[in-house]
């Protein structure tokens, strides 16, 4: 393996002292003190038409500055999905709409000088609704008489097969080979359907932003967002103002996990600040965040697998039904990952078919959550593969070794990309030994009557959206030769500021401390699509490498001038991190003198900006094993330990990579076991607080053991691929497998709560 100086090393996050000591670095800590407080009046009905809003009493309350209804807002539809323009998500939102589409949909905005006045005004507004029957069951949504988006100005920018009059957001089918013939001639065919519910990202910092007009009459928005450049566009669309009028700043943010890849609420304070000329602040309560932000899409996925007797998986059919909820943000794109980031794992198949249908309902609008659709697809496919192993009376480990993707294979189910880096086979081998998996007895009955068992799964993800995402980086040399690294990617706690500084330090042969980073400001930061789709380490990392190369050339140009060697070929100058030296005559200038010299009689700007995009999206891989303890009397499942081995290419920062993995795995354990989203018959969310929506606590999880099995990705910076999303994909199928091994019951509907498992065991009469 290559020897590195700054990467593949543990470096504390550049902001760690500030964060652990509680410095005021988040949106709410830095906002101006005279902000108007903005809140939303929300509908208690899942589907209704707002007939009349009587705001006269509320307007008289002292401190109330304005109350805005659907009559007062711009009339062009937009999407709040943080995606590259033109967005595949339909333009189906208004800031406020008369048609109410889910419980919590916005009816009016209230702005006032203090919280108490605003709360009072919210209670004083009288709304007349024409209540309509809601459409809550996504399996009945297509072509239902109830139309969630009846409007004529519903607008897709990209044709993804949607038709609002049919409640259809997107639809497509992708095939390779003759799936019907392959399934018909397979020795064993299994046909199963899986259901996953909405899941809340539940970042500890809820959604928040403030907006103000600056001295130039422009609107500045400071927001806890993963996608500042997309916020700029979305706000400009929503407010119908020019993009040049909008500036977005991202300070430190308290977690995202995809939730802040959607412009969930920025348009509200932005609109109020634009309207009143006064600074305006809005923060979502936890209840609001759970009720109206954009959780993971609910899915129903049918998987049909055809295999030969000896365990060759010959055909894979995967059909996803996707519940968009009330609005379509991220729907047409998340769904594609359910097949594209699962089927390629079984690359030996002769034929596959991946089809999907995405529908509107009157439930919470779903959005982006770590894993972005791959998570649902992998739960379904991996569980099906475990079920197939059972049907074949074969070890699930052996079945995977026979069929899984190997390095250098071409992947027909992954846009014919080649797997240039893949150690999945080694990952699986190691996880089998770490977990103590035993083909003969994956279950043990303990003296107390509980059953201990192990379950396995593998997973993949991508690294950036190929041929779409753009990452740009600017690096400047300053006095005394320290560097400033400007990125448009947003560190949301993952540590990308530090990881990218490590990559820059490696290229510039300096210490990580010599590289200064900062937050993102759309006025001054170079463009980046944003931090999502597992893109920062891979794509922005590549941009860092490219920028450093350009910068070194620039430094050599200036060195040549300063050394009086203007005619020298730049290749004859050598940069070693400390100085630039002429190989011909030994003349040398230090980086320190160069930095200072750039500020004296100089015509060469010592900075460089480069962009990168990627024609491929190299998958990282993982194998995971869950060890659980089931109490057959109650159905209670305790997670005793989780073992994972990961191929994310070169590990840039081992501590940060490990914590990414541990954090993602524990989120997924929540998804598998406790995090439940349930609606009342009228469409009201039941799990609207942390009391009912149960995140794993530190008592709920046994040790999570993470190891790495690095490959070297030739297209990545120093061989790196992504890790952030991958890690959430393997636990739910591994846990479902462990539950089967313990009880003989396949629970095909997440989460596997004690009640559900108890009922399932009872019906099987165990």
């Amino acid at each position: 393996m290559m020897e590195f100086k700054s990467i593949n090393k543990v470096v504390a996050k550049k902001d760690s002292q500030a964060l652990v000591t509680g410095q005021p670095v988040y949106t709410e800590d830095i906002m101006p003190k005279d902000c108007l407080i903005v809140k939303v009046l929300r509908s208690p009905h899942a589907r209704a038409i707002v007939k009349k809003v009587n705001k006269s009493a509320a307007e008289k309350i002292p401190g109330i500055v304005c109350i805005v209804t659907a009559d007062d807002v711009p009339k062009s539809r937009f999407t709040i999905a943080g995606q590259t323009y033109p967005e595949p998500s339909p333009y189906d939102r208004l800031i406020l709409d008369k048609q109410i589409r889910f419980v919590g949909d916005a009816v009016a905005l209230v702005a006032g000088t203090n919280q108490a006045a605003v709360d009072k005004a919210l209670r004083a507004i009288r709304v007349e609704y024409e209540v309509q029957e809601p459409l809550l069951d996504f399996t009945k949504a297509l072509d239902n008489d109830i139309v969630v988006h009846p409007e004529d100005d519903w607008k897709p920018l990209v044709d993804v097969g949607g038709d609002n009059k049919r409640n259809l957001v997107a639809k497509a089918c992708d095939r390779h080979g003759d799936i019907d013939a392959v399934l018909a001639s397979s020795d064993v065919v299994i046909d199963r359907t899986y259901h996953t519910r909405q899941n809340q990202q539940a970042a500890m910092e809820t959604f928040r932003a403030y907006a103000y007009k600056d001295a130039f009459g422009r609107l500045t928005i400071v927001s806890s967002t993963q996608v500042p450049f997309h916020v700029r566009r979305v706000v400009s669309h929503a407010l119908e103002i020019s993009k040049s009028k909008v500036r977005v700043i991202k300070p430190r943010i308290g977690g995202g996990f995809g939730s802040k890849q959607t412009v969930v609420m920025e348009v509200y304070p932005a609109f109020i600040a634009w309207l009143t000329g006064k600074p305006a602040y809005m923060v979502y309560s936890r209840e609001e965040s759970l009720t109206v932000s954009t959780p993971r899409h609910e899915s129903q996925i049918r998987v049909v697998l055809g295999a030969s007797k000896d365990g060759h998986i010959r055909g894979i059919l995967l059909d996803s039904l996707w519940n968009a909820g009330a609005y379509g943000e991220h729907t047409p794109t998340t769904v594609t990952l359910s097949g594209h980031k699962s089927i390629p794992l079984y690359n030996a198949a002769e034929a596959f078919q991946f089809s999907y249908t995405c529908v509107y309902t009157n439930t919470i609008a779903a959005g982006a959550y770590r894993g972005y659709g791959a998570t649902q697809g992998l739960f379904a496919l991996e569980t099906a593969v475990n079920e197939l192993a059972e049907a074949l009376h074969m070890s699930p480990v052996e079945l995977r070794f026979k069929n899984m993707v190997r390095q250098n294979q071409v992947l027909p189910a992954y846009f014919n990309e080649t797997a240039l880096s893949c150690t999945l086979d080694k990952c699986l081998e190691r996880v089998v030994s770490m977990s103590g998996w035993d083909d003969a007895s994956p279950r043990k009955v303990l003296p107390n009557g509980h059953i201990q068992s192990v379950g396995l799964a593998i997973a993949m993800q991508g690294s950036s959206v190929s041929n779409v995402d753009v990452a740009s980086v600017t690096i400047k040399v300053n006095d005394d030769g320290f560097y400033t690294l400007h990125i448009g990617a947003t560190d949301m706690g993952t540590g990308c500021d530090t990881i990218l500084a490590q990559i820059a330090a490696e290229c510039l042969m300096c210490s990580v401390d010599d590289i200064v980073t900062d937050g993102v400001d759309t006025d001054t930061s170079p463009y980046d699509s944003g931090s999502y789709a597992s893109s920062t380490t891979y794509l922005t990392g590549n941009a860092v490498v490219k920028t450093c190369e350009s910068l070194i050339r620039r430094m050599k140009e200036l060195a040549a001038v300063k050394l009086g060697l203007s005619d020298t070929d730049l290749d004859d100058l050598e940069f070693d991190g400390k100085a630039i030296t002429c190989l011909q005559n030994g003349k040398s200038i230090t980086v320190r003198d160069l930095g200072n010299g750039a500020m004296f009689m100089n015509g060469i700007a010592l900075e460089a900006t480069e962009s990168s995009y990627s024609p491929t999206s190299p998958p990282p891989y993982m194998a995971g094993a869950a060890t659980i303890d089931v109490d057959p009397e109650t159905g209670h499942i305790a997670l005793l330990k989780y073992d994972a081995v990961i191929d994310c290419g070169t590990v840039i920062n081992p501590s940060l990579a490990r914590v990414q993995a541990e954090g993602g795995i524990v989120q997924a354990i929540g998804m598998a076991l406790t995090e439940n989203v349930q609606y009342t018959p009228t469409g009201r969310l039941q799990n609207n607080s942390f009391m009912q929506y149960r995140l794993p606590t530190r008592l709920d999880v046994g040790p999570v053991n993470v190891e790495f099995e690095p490959s070297y990705e030739p297209n990545g910076p120093f061989g790196a691929k992504s890790i952030g999303e991958l890690v959430i994909d393997s636990p739910s199928p591994a846990i479902a497998h462990a539950v089967y091994n313990a009880t003989g019951v396949w629970v095909r509907d997440l989460p596997i709560t004690a009640e559900k498992l108890y009922q399932a065991m009872k019906h099987k009469n165990l």
């Binding site: 504390a12 964060l19 652990v20 970042a203 308290g254 977690g255 954090g663 524990v666 989120q667 530190r698």
Partner: protein, 155 residues
């Protein structure tokens, strides 16, 4: 209502609304380390000390601190910096939003226990949610920190 209290060692008085929560009061006094993550006393982000005992400031009325010593992370900067070193090496700070409440409990814990078990620690910190880290790195950092303090964590 008038109250007199010591905030991070400094004596002050304030005239406050009887219904005001301690969380809101502390932020109004510039203690921005104190964070809120829920409305249902489930997350632990708002943890501060009243008379050296950790409490959830979102669930305590501000009037209750009358005559009391209140400590926030602003008043424990040296200890926090020391612990931050171990958190940083583990990458356990992550988004950091849960850190202040968590650190308040860790600092209370290191004062209370000399040789806790891992289970004691988990129990003590069970009210502190973290969505980023998955908790393992917290434990690694705490063990190192205890070691540096001449204490040990038993497994």
């Amino acid at each position: 209502m008038m109250i007199t209290y010591w905030l991070n060692g400094k004596k002050s008085s304030a005239d406050i609304e009887p219904g005001m929560m301690l969380y809101d009061f502390l932020r109004s006094q510039g203690c921005y380390s104190v964070k809120c993550g829920c409305e249902t006393t489930n997350c632990g982000l708002c943890t501060v000390w009243v008379n050296d005992v950790p409490v959830l400031s979102c669930a305590v009325l501000a009037v209750r601190i009358d005559g009391c010593q209140v400590t926030t992370l602003e008043g424990l900067q040296e200890d926090a910096k020391e612990f931050a070193y171990y958190m940083g090496l583990q990458g356990a700070d992550q988004c950091g939003f849960c850190n202040p409440g968590f650190v308040m409990n860790v600092l209370a814990m290191v004062r209370r226990f000399d040789s806790p078990t891992e289970d004691d620690i988990k129990e003590f910190l069970s009210g502190n949610l973290c969505r980023c880290t998955g908790y393992m790195s917290h434990m690694r950092a705490i063990k190192e920190y205890f070691k540096a303090k001449g204490k040990e964590v038993r497994s």
